[in-house]
């Protein structure tokens, strides 16, 4: 298929849609979680208000930071936006500028810069977050590649669009259920949710992702939070498109997955950092079984 100029237009539309709805999805996750815990919780639009609030505030930089500290959130944001643009197009065009390995690579680009910025703050907290982030990513990376392999083998393609197209024909099977569970575990680990990380606390004992951005404020903080919410949504969409074996409209599937995240966060505690190894290994074994069962 050749590339048309309006392909880029559709891509832009998709990115804008995802960017605008990311805070809403994050708000819905929080709201469902609150309801499940017998709380009223904040409005589902709270994340928009928070972003607006941070946008109004001044940015304070510590005197030791270099340019990397300012560039990092921007690269992180850009990388997640690019990843969103690489998702199979909702509007039907097949065009993309990279396959699933590029998708993973682009997200790694953002992570690379965020962990660098955590070392740039010259504090103990930043480095702690960065070091744990690297630890989790090392454990998660092989499992992600396995999850990719399951779909690549079935569809004979490594592009996200090809995989998604192929997945539409697949319903419940042993392999698809196993990969679905495994990818959901990965989604939680990659986006810093319970049981791997707790997105709501700033306690140094528990935090990973929040710890890296402790020294950020104002607009830079807003950019990071927006990017994180977008990343969660991108993973939810990816999960719905490639791994959730139900024939429902995409939006319903995404909401279902978001609810599942809330349920998981209510049922489970955050696990100890060194237990994550076992958690991700379990996901990896499920995927190996899926590869064999396919």
């Amino acid at each position: 298929m050749a590339m048309h100029i309006y392909d880029l237009g559709w891509m832009l539309a998709q990115v804008l849609l995802l960017l605008c709805s990311a805070p809403l999805v994050a708000g819905i996750i929080k709201k469902v979680k609150a309801l499940l815990q017998n709380r009223i919780g904040s409005s589902i639009f709270q994340e928009y208000f928070d972003l607006y609030k941070w946008w109004q505030k001044p940015t304070i930089l510590t005197p030791y930071t270099s340019l990397v500290f300012i560039i990092a959130p921007l690269v992180y944001f850009a990388s997640v936006v690019v990843a969103a643009a690489m998702l199979p197009n909702f509007f039907g065009t097949q065009f993309s500028f990279g396959d699933v390995f590029v998708f993973i690579g682009v997200l790694t680009l953002g992570r690379f810069f965020m962990t660098l910025s955590s070392l740039d703050t010259a504090t103990a907290f930043g480095g702690m977050g960065g070091s744990r982030e690297i630890y989790i990513s090392v454990l998660a990376e092989p499992v992600i590649l396995l999850a990719v392999l399951v779909n690549a083998l079935r569809s004979g393609s490594t592009t996200l669009a090809g995989m998604a197209l192929d997945f539409q024909a697949v319903y419940l099977s042993v392999a698809s259920v196993l990969t679905c569970i495994a990818f959901f575990c990965l989604l939680l680990a990659e986006n810093g949710r319970i049981p791997v990380d707790n997105p709501d606390t700033h306690l140094e004992l528990t935090m990973i992702h929040e710890c890296m951005l402790l020294e950020y404020s104002g607009r830079l903080l807003a950019v990071i939070h927006w990017a994180s919410m977008l990343k969660t949504l991108v993973f939810l969409v990816l999960f719905s498109l490639l791994y959730l074996p139900l024939s429902l409209p995409l939006a319903v599937k995404v909401l279902l997955a978001a609810t599942a995240v809330s349920v998981m966060e209510t049922l489970k505690n955050k696990m100890r950092l060194f237990k994550v190894r076992v958690y991700l290994a379990a996901a990896g074994i499920l995927l190996l079984l899926a590869i064999v069962a396919q």
């Binding site: 590339m3 510590t62 955590s118 070392l119 070091s131 744990r132 690297i134 690549a152 060194f274 064999v292």
Partner: protein, 662 residues
């Protein structure tokens, strides 16, 4: 084609500068560097021109007993030598000056001799010439590692390297002799035509792989590498890691493509698994080291592992029903060789710049160098991104192709065996690449970001123009090879494709790959760059447009001023991984109380951590002990008496006679 002779002559003249009189030390240095730059430049031009349009062979002929022949497979590695040789020689102009008064003439001469020897290895067209050049390369690089012989570590590393590399040479020699005795000739052109029995082929494969894997630094034969590469002067380390390790791939490729006959399945699987295990453990050890050059040396083990892993994948694919796709594995190996040589040269050069500026190799003593050496910091960032295999850098292209080859492997048959092999490759590759990201985040973050960790850093200064030029060129190349990989990969592909005619052409596939409209696999870096920079620009303008928002304030530190010692250290940064992989690393920790009074304050604690290479500990030290032990046993028959020795000769002769009579 005659330009290659000029290159050889120029290198030879450069090597001769070692004979300049002592008074002309600086003149000798400048002459040597100029010779190296011009020689490498000519080599680069010649091999690139040949790869792009030449046919036949680049060069063939003989001089005295030395026969030359350079086909496309040689030309790829000549290109790598020329490229890395040019940038590192430019860098050496400024960097090697710090060796003034420390045998600078010899350094310049050996530098040229090292380049010369590597080119000769690539040109050699018969076993004798090859082994001679190979040996020259080993000895010259030994002398370069031993250049700072006053330092005990360098001296030991050099001798360890000398012993190890000769074991490798012996293995290669055995492989050559096994094949050569069947073929009846030692000429490369006829070497592959002998009819070999399966046993001979398998034995030749094992010995050849062992010999070249030793040179490439694959597990468990890598132990010399993290000692020898850091001991050499930095520009030499750059060339050793960047080029010499690739020459091992060149030799192994010759064996696989030309000499060994049809590839067996288990050969490929063996190379694949050994390669990828090296990649994982190399990256893991790189993450644990504190010495900047040892980190880079272990990272070379990792990258050579990936290169050999992809190459092994190609070998496995040759034996499957989809053998026409085998090209992609070999292509990944070659592309990653080229990219890694540029990236690793760059990082060794910046390690040299950092060591030059701070007089230390220990990254725990650095920090905040980015503000003092901004150019070096930017170049190193590019190199670190490349070695972390981030998109838009050269490192990503090779690893992307490697991943594609693993997918092809997993999907190449319906059987479970290949699927699981592919899955294993994916798991190991994923571990290695994520560890590499962590390793370079740690390296860059601890050295260039944050605050000064010691006094050493305060007097750091930016490097001189030639060092910046060398690093800058390499950094531009890393980006260029990442953003427009299409033409380069197309050229390199012809080099691999020549080896086997039945492989399908990937020319059409490539258009699909790099410009992004295919359904099988896509990577369109130019488009990616465009979209990424547009988004980056937009968000940067939105965020940083209003400067009045930003002001600087000391970090809140519970009411105290933060000190530089409160930063995360490099050792601390790798703690979670050290703990997660302690079953492999077996770190040794000792904590001793120097003063143990009140449990709440005033205690003094000394904490030591060491992570010895497990292969040295568990494999090489026992072998060494055994050799010493058996030598002490053999000493009993060495009594020094002439009569005894004559009786030994008698006994031996009798035995031979009896054996002959039987």
């Amino acid at each position: 084609m005659e330009l290659i002779y000029i290159t050889l002559a120029v290198y030879g003249m450069g090597a001769a500068t070692a004979l300049f009189p002592k008074k002309m030390e600086m003149a000798a240095h400048y002459c040597a560097v100029l010779a190296a730059v011009f020689g490498s430049g000519a080599l680069l031009y010649q091999s690139a021109a040949y790869l792009m349009q030449g046919s036949g062979s680049l060069l063939s002929g003989s001089w005295a007993f030395f026969t030359f022949n350079a086909d496309r497979w040689s030309a790829v590695f000549l290109l790598i030598t020329g490229l890395a040789g040019t940038v590192t020689s430019i860098y050496a102009w400024g960097y090697a000056k710090s060796y003034l008064g420390k045998r600078l003439r010899l350094l310049g001469g050996l530098w040229n001799a090292f380049l010369l020897s590597m080119v000769l290895v690539l040109l050699a067209a018969d076993v004798f010439s090859f082994l001679l050049a190979w040996e020259l390369m080993a000895v010259v690089s030994f002398l370069l590692v031993n250049h700072e012989a006053e330092k005990k570590a360098a001296h030991n590393a050099a001798y360890q390297y000398l012993v190890m590399t000769h074991i490798g040479t012996a293995a290669i020699m055995i492989a050559f002799l096994m094949i050569g005795s069947q073929a009846g000739s030692l000429d490369f052109a006829v070497l592959g035509q002998g009819v070999l029995s399966d046993n001979v082929r398998n034995a030749a494969f094992i010995t050849a792989f062992a010999g070249f894997a030793l040179k490439a630094g694959l597990l468990p034969l890598h132990v010399w590498l993290p000692n020898a590469h850091p001991a050499a002067p930095s520009h030499v380390s750059a060339l050793m890691s960047g080029v010499m390790l690739k020459i091992a791939l060149y030799g192994f490729g010759r064996f696989v493509f030309q000499f060994l006959g049809p590839t067996e399945f288990w050969w490929g699987a063996f190379v694949l698994v050994v390669g990828l295990l090296s990649a994982v453990l190399g990256a893991l050890y790189a993450q644990m080291e504190k010495d900047i050059k040892r980190i880079l040396a272990y990272s070379s083990v990792e990258n050579m592992g990936i290169i050999f892993g992809a190459f092994g994948c190609g070998m496995v694919l040759m034996t499957t029903p989809r053998h026409d796709y085998a090209l992609i594995g070999f292509l990944a190996a070659v592309v990653h060789s080229l990219n890694h040589s540029v990236m690793k040269s760059l990082l060794f050069m910046s390690a040299g710049a950092v060591m030059h500026a701070t007089d230390s190799k220990d990254i725990e003593k650095m920090g905040g160098l980015g503000k003092l050496m901004p150019w070096t910091a930017v170049f190193t960032l590019v190199g670190s991104m490349g070695l972390s295999a981030l998109p838009l850098t050269g490192g990503f292209v090779g690893e992307w192709l490697a991943l594609q080859s693993f997918v092809t492997l997993a999907g190449s048959s319906e059987g479970q065996g290949l699927r699981l092999l592919g899955a294993l490759a994916f798991v190991l590759f994923g571990l290695a690449s994520a560890l590499a990201v962590g390793c370079f985040v740690r390296l860059y973050g601890v050295v260039f970001l944050g605050r000064n960790r010691s006094r050493l850093v305060e007097r750091a200064h930016e490097s001189d123009w030639s060092m910046r030029l060398g690093m800058g060129l390499a950094a531009i190349l890393v980006l260029l090879l990442g953003i427009v990989p299409g033409p380069v990969v197309a050229v390199l592909q012809t080099a691999v494709q020549n080896q086997q005619t039945l492989w399908r052409s990937f020319a059409d596939m490539q258009k699909v790959w790099w410009f992004g409209s295919g359904s099988y696999a896509v990577y369109a870096p130019l488009l990616l760059l465009t979209v990424l920079s547009v988004v980056l620009l937009a968000v940067a303008l939105m965020t940083c447009g209003d400067k009045s928002f930003v002001h600087r304030e000391v970090t809140w530190n519970c009411g105290t001023y933060p000190t530089a010692r409160q930063q995360y250290s490099a050792t601390g940064f790798s703690k979670p991984l050290r703990r997660a992989f302690d079953f492999l690393l077996k770190p040794k920790r000792t904590a001793t109380y120097l003063k143990k009074g009140n449990p709440y304050f005033g205690r003094q604690l000394e904490y030591k951590l060491s992570i010895p290479d497990q292969f040295t500990e568990k494999l090489y030290v026992p072998i060494q002990h055994y050799m010493v032990w058996s030598a002490s046993f053999l000493r009993r028959i060495q009594q020094g008496s002439v009569r005894l020795y004559i009786s030994y000769v008698m006994v031996a002769m009798l035995l031979v006679l009896i054996w002959g009579a039987m």
